[in-house]
Amino acid sequence: MKHLFSLLENNDSSDASTVDSQVNRRDFLKFVVIGGAGLTLGLSLDSAHAEMSGPGKTSADESLTNGQFAPNAFIRIEPDNTVHVIIKHLEMGQGTFTGLSTLIAEELEADWSQIKPHAAPANAALYNNLLWGPAQGTGGSTAIANSFEQMRKAGAAAKMMLVAAAAQLWDLPADEISVSQGVVSHKASGKSASFGELAELAAKQDVPEPEEITLKDPKDFVLIGKRIPRKDGGKTDGTAIFTQDIKLDGMQTAVVTHSPRFGGKVKTFNADKARKMPGVTDVVQISTGIVVLATDFWSAQKARETLDITWDNSQAATASSEALLTEYKTLAKKPGLPAKKTGDADQAFKNAAKVIEASYEFPYLAHAAMEPLNCVAHFTGDSCEMWYGAQIHTMDQGAVAALLDLKPAAVKINTLYAGGSFGRRGNPKSDYVLEAAEIAKAKKGTPIKLVWTREDDMRAGYFRPMYYHTLKAGLDKDNKLVAWEHRIVGQSIAKGSAFEGMMVQKGVDVTSVEGASNLPYDIPNMHVELHTTDPGVPIQWWRAVGSTHTAYSTETFIDEIASAAKIDPIAFRLKLLTNKPRHHGVLKLAAEKAGWDSKLPKGRSRGIAVHESFNSYVAQVAEVSVQDDGSYKVERVVCAVDCGIAVNPDIVKAQMEGGIGFGLAPTLVSEITMDNGAVKESNFHDYQVLRMNQMPDVEVHIVPSAQAPTGVGEPATPVIAPAVANALFNATGKRYYRLPIKKA
């Protein structure tokens, strides 16, 4: 989703000839405008939409109460002095409840303790992602970036109205009135009032015009840039409500048996035994499989095991990872579609003094968020209400509306905390949401909770695609890198989804090549090419998307070239990073903090990698220790990040730590294997993920910056694998061309 971002931000690593810059915004509108509501790109001051939903508040709209001050779509101040903040982005652990609240509280001059965040309802007009256009959604590490000005303006406007109310009440000039920590006061007269006390009168003041709103000078920030506690509460005492925890009157739990092979359909089924089992209320067929409904999960699950289903596999996928790899290797021998072309690489290779070649293999990966997918839906015939961790709210809303033949506004989405997502809940085809809606349609009038087991979650997709890369570099006689050819083979995430019009340009899916087509290194002759395959395996974005593979191949290959040229890998990179001050900044900071030039304790080796994704810059130094049997441990990681202004430095650190841990899983252990169109792995015993004993010490350093903030949810993830592989090289002398690296 990076290019969505690139539309509005000037990315210093973008290049006029890359696919990113050719994205046509109107195409995006065409595909993703759902709902037909008017588009409000700026600050909406429409208080008619005062509905709130979210964790702990899972029922109806909250209409305006007496004395409430609702200056815009993001703020509700109650007479009891609570400031309710409406959060348009999904809270999936990355900290939107805290970050967006901070922006509002900063300009409102609220006290942090009076702030209470709630998830916004789905509404493209009020709560769209400003970097996406008229769609509400969370992804591409855009939550803070697109909200930075919007939320601050919302807070500033509310503050102006509170001040105007105090001026009226006290009959004093507004410019003598100040606000601090939730108190409105007039110094000379000693008068003061809380927000709650002024709420009713503030609601009667004129809403300021956007041009009247001025924002604080960053040097006066009291919350932004400081360590303040998180606001997504209830997560240490079991009271936080996730989708899995929703219970509605008369609700039935639904489990679905999907075709083991992708593309298989139900031919016949016999559910006689299942129907007779205790607790079972119904068995129905839907487009994706057979659904067992019961009063509770365990009854449904036990009954499901007795189903006798015959599958029609005539259209089923036959993909196997091994065969796919052979096919991909053959494809990579031929030129693909151009994703970037500068100079004449073919000619430059002919003249090169030295040519280095390498190829890289990346398996499918599951997101495997801790909360397996689930969704609650209640279809009444003329409306559908849903409860789940919605990530692309208005796309889901439009898809469900189309399925149920409703107007989008008749689909009400209550967004709950998501127990992780890593992209999975933002499925470009709304897969699990539509599955819930289809069950709700079959059970009209009955609320249903769709629950995927871990096995369902792991086997039904959607996955980070499998990729194969080849890389070729040419050095001249002075060891200068003069030619570069990079071929990528794999499936397109956007193709066939609502995002195709925007993300696929001249046959090249930008998510397949991001990180490669905008390689930051200054190489005069460069070809980046793509082969897109279609083996029928469902795939989608996975935390950091294209960079999950491009950062690995490019950053280990650059390291390999540096050692072939016998130049220090940091010095080699810095020299090629012309006019890339932010890459320089993080590389130098990471190197300095890791003590790059210092001696390591015995048995340890270190390696470095740097990568920009979503306009944030990350460098990491990994320290590893290798045993004689090839087992190894990542002991320590020093991470430097430049994400512009760090709105909440502690959350930036948490996202770096977590992003590194998430990226270490596919470095060390994670892998999904296709076998005749089906997935071999099923649960955490065979799809392994990172555990406590494998987590390194992590040290995070933030580059001080006055630039607008960029995202931190994803950019740490792709950097760790190449940093570890480069460290392993320094221990073993071997290069690693396949992830995961199970043995050094």
């Binding site: 999936m92 652990g93 990355q94 900290g95 506690p229 998180r230 997504d232 209830g234 997560k235 240490t236 005492d237 079991g238 009271t239 936080a240 409500i241 996730f242 899995q244 925890d245 219970k247 739990t253 205790p278 009063t295 509770d296 999960f297 365990w298 495997a368 968020a369 801790m370 909360e371 397996p372 905390y417 998501a418 127990g419 992780g420 997502s421 890593f422 087991t453 871990r454 502690d650 959350i651 948490a654 730590e657 977590g658 992003g659 590194i660 841990g661 998430f662 270490l664 649960n683 955490f684 015993h685 993920v689 990172l690 555990r691 406590m692 004993n693 987590m695 010490d697 992590v698």
Partner: protein, 155 residues
């Protein structure tokens, strides 16, 4: 068929098939949803509760196995170790998505109840059965040490 357990200090009669895993008894029959489902096969630790004070995986523990025993869930845990763990978790802002954290806290509290001064290797041994996909491990480790120090200072 009714089974009685001492749940969070109260005798509780449960009308569920004895082979029902304790996890689903808690979640679906008793509406105690703080204990989470993550894998159903003792691989992830999301469902960790205390059985007579010891951390167990409720997803693989049938109701019949806990008859007449003391079960404590995140909703009822109130030992000084658990309180210190929760306070340390909040102080260090350990949580991200939060889904795994009930289980993490129950495992950490059980660890501290038998070992007031855990080394890194003790933490690895006690906590490696609890997966956190958000990878909050760095902070979990720090928070356990913080809680241990706090408990040490109290005693």
């Amino acid at each position: 068929m009714s089974t009685t357990i001492t749940l969070n200090g109260k005798d509780t009669a449960i009308d569920a098939s004895p082979d029902t895993p304790l996890l689903w008894v808690l979640r679906d029959h008793l509406a105690l949803t703080g204990t989470k489902y993550g894998c159903g096969m003792a691989q992830c630790g999301s469902c960790t509760v205390h059985l007579d004070g010891v951390a167990i995986r409720s997803c693989v523990t049938p109701l019949s196995a806990v008859a007449s025993k003391k079960v404590t869930t995140i909703e009822g845990v109130a030992t000084k170790e658990a309180k210190a763990v929760q306070a340390a978790w909040d102080k260090l802002d350990v949580v991200q998505c939060g889904y795994c954290q009930s289980g993490q806290i129950m495992s950490a509290a059980a660890l501290l109840s038998t070992n007031l001064n855990p080394e890194d290797s003790d933490i690895d041994a006690a906590m490696s059965g609890n997966i956190c996909r958000c990878a909050t491990y760095v902070r979990i480790r720090a928070a356990i040490k913080e809680a241990a120090a706090e408990l040490g200072a109290q005693s």
